[in-house]
């Protein structure tokens, strides 16, 4: 294909990606050094009640001719970042009188960061294990039954994550059916959603439930491509089931395990939907949730876009680190030779 034809084919997509991904990304970088606020003015007003009139000074946003609040943008340097990272409080926490890590985790950003990292690292082995066990199990079941099993298995994966999280939440919230069962079994009063650790465990469980099927499908497809001759040879040589798994099957699907691990790390780092679904923000928050929260209008209708941009940029640092191995892998595979 001629380069010119190639360009015509990719142009619409390239245009969209540049305008709608690269430009907003650049905007976010710029905004993270800016602060936009409504211009406030002090107005003297007469307030009258039956007992006479008095003058009240009130602060209100300045409106333009259209009745929209006038806003002013100014450059603030690293202020948004310092407001997030709070270096003063960090050094306070680690000073003589400070509370150490416990105090550090009281700061919004570090709290979100701590959870995001724990979440990403803890779910990884669980998801891979679940996917591998399911793939091996389904692979040894008669072909006839596999269709319905795969159907049910796909459900947690394709379902809307917020709704999936809600459906699990409803099993536990208040006297939900599983809480009630647990209470009956242990003969005690349990309130799942008042314990931070229980909420965190549920959020972790949800991700394993949600992503396990994805890993399963990939590894199951990998199992179909195993060379049967080597398996047969191993049986003749007297390899036990465990040895066959350890020395033939797992090495064969290892590239796939690496692939799904990388994908999972990137996706889990962006954890957000389950926080909303479980309504877990009182106990655990993630980096994306932090940005989202800054972007939502507060009680006065203000959105802290500068703060949100700074938090988005800090989130990006982690993404870049996680992206490096993925890029390296793709580089080696797709590099033009």
């Amino acid at each position: 294909m001629k380069t010119k034809t190639f360009l015509i084919f990719v142009l619409p997509s390239l245009f969209m990606m540049l305008i709608f991904i690269a430009v907003p990304l650049g905007m976010a970088v710029i905004q993270s050094f800016q602060n936009t606020q409504n211009v406030l003015i002090q107005k003297e007003q007469k307030k009258c009640d039956p007992f006479g009139c008095k003058k009240v000074i009130s602060t209100m946003p300045l409106l333009d001719e259209m009745g929209k609040p006038v806003s002013k943008t100014k450059w603030v340097g690293w202020e948004n970042y310092t407001a997030l990272l709070e270096p003063d409080r960090v050094s306070q926490a680690f000073s003589e009188a400070g509370g150490g890590f416990a105090e550090l985790l009281g700061i919004d950003f570090y709290k979100a960061f701590r959870f995001t990292i724990t979440f990403t690292l803890f779910t990884l082995p669980l998801v891979i294990m679940l996917g591998l066990i399911l793939a091996l199990a389904v692979n040894s079941i008669h072909r006839r039954y596999r269709g319905p099993i795969i159907f049910v298995t796909l459900l947690p994966f394709v379902i809307t994550p917020v709704i999936g999280a809600l459906s699990i939440k409803w099993l536990f919230i208040g006297d939900g059916i599983l809480t009630a069962t647990l209470e009956a079994m242990t003969n005690s009063d349990i309130a799942v959603f008042s314990n931070a650790w229980a909420v965190e465990a549920l959020v972790l469980f949800f991700r394993v439930w949600h992503t396990g099927p994805f890993v399963f499908v990939i590894l199951y497809a990998g199992l179909q491509t195993i060379n049967f001759d080597s398996l047969e040879a191993a049986i003749i040589d007297g390899a036990s089931r465990w040895e066959r798994l350890r020395y033939i099957i797992v090495p064969h699907i290892m590239p796939l395990i690496v692939f799904v691990s990388l994908i999972h790390l990137m996706d889990a780092y962006r954890v957000f939907d389950e926080i909303i679904g479980f309504g877990a923000e009182a106990h655990v928050t993630s980096l994306q949730w932090l940005t989202f929260d800054f972007l939502m209008p507060d009680d006065t209708g203000n959105r802290s876009i500068g703060r949100a941009s700074a938090s988005a940029m800090l989130t990006m640092v982690g993404i870049i680190i996680l992206l490096i191995p993925v890029l390296k892998r793709t580089w080696n595979e797709q590099r033009p030779r």
Partner: protein
Amino acid sequence: MDNNHLYKLSPPLKLLTWMVVITWMVIAAFPLFWLVTMSFKLPLDAFDANALTVIFGPNTKNMIGGISIVGVLVALGFGYLFLKAHQRRESIFDYFTAFFGSIPKFLVIIFLYIIVIVAAIITFFMVVPMVSSLFNMIFGGIPLLSLLVEPFMGITTQHYEAVWIENEFYKQFINTVVVTTGVVSISLTVATLAAYGIARTRSNMAFWLLIMALCFRALPYSTLVTGYLAPFIEYGLYGKRFGVVIVLVAINQPFTIWMLRSFFMNIPPELDEAALVDGCNRFQAFWKVIMPVMWPGVITTGLFSFLLAYNDYMVAMLLLDGDARTMVPAITQYFNRETTLTDQVEAIAAAASITAPIFVMVMFFQKQLVSGLTQGAVKG
């Protein structure tokens, strides 16, 4: 080739395997099953601590009514009819395509599906209750037969009615339809062209485009929305469904390109070359020769685009408000104001309604979903 003998298991291992699979299936399906069960019960039953009360809903049965064994059989009978129709869908499509003559086949198929969905809703929400109450009237007085026709399980559809009719959830449904249709059609059109170009060129630029797309795929959505929000508010795109469509198409673009490209790679380039030799130009070769064999790949990729747009919460929540919201963010309105138990069950009914289309989609497109997932991974 069946190589099952290589995986043949000893009986205890076989038992263990089945136990693992069945346990997983229960864990996978139970939350959704419970969601649907609760949505059909009065709050008194739905939030009972006893599982059997929730399933059989005695209070719902006494106050509203329910379904009898005959009713279940009638429902199963209709379900069987739908299943049979599904199994013979190809011949049905062909019959109606011939019947309508000049209308393209895919329009006929879409039209038929809409009719079937409406028919299914009418059947299960209106015809089945009517038929079973008719049976109840006829056989209600007869001692042994009355056991068959008397309700044994309480069921009410009032929460669904409240959600869809009183609370006007159909508005949100229309928003979702608009957004997902926009996202799927635009992102497929743009990405199919790009993916074809990338798959067929020897230029280095294709490689760099793929790397760029991969980097963009890793971006957190919140980062992008942060960049969009200020200009959207400035230029009046805030609160417009079109704005959300653009954002979701952009977010979706990298992933779509990668997936479509791997489908194009499976089509031998000799096919294009033959077309070129026969006097087509590139676009004719693409449109007349390659696209006809690409449809399965396009449909699969379309499914994933649909899922992304349908399941999105963050973008729609931040860029839309009020009546313009799509279904998923709108459901947060329910659990923010869930003051009474009835509100909660209505939220559950809304959640079940959102899940239903996805359930149907997996039923019809299971094979395509699986092939789409494995496409990028297994073949590189």
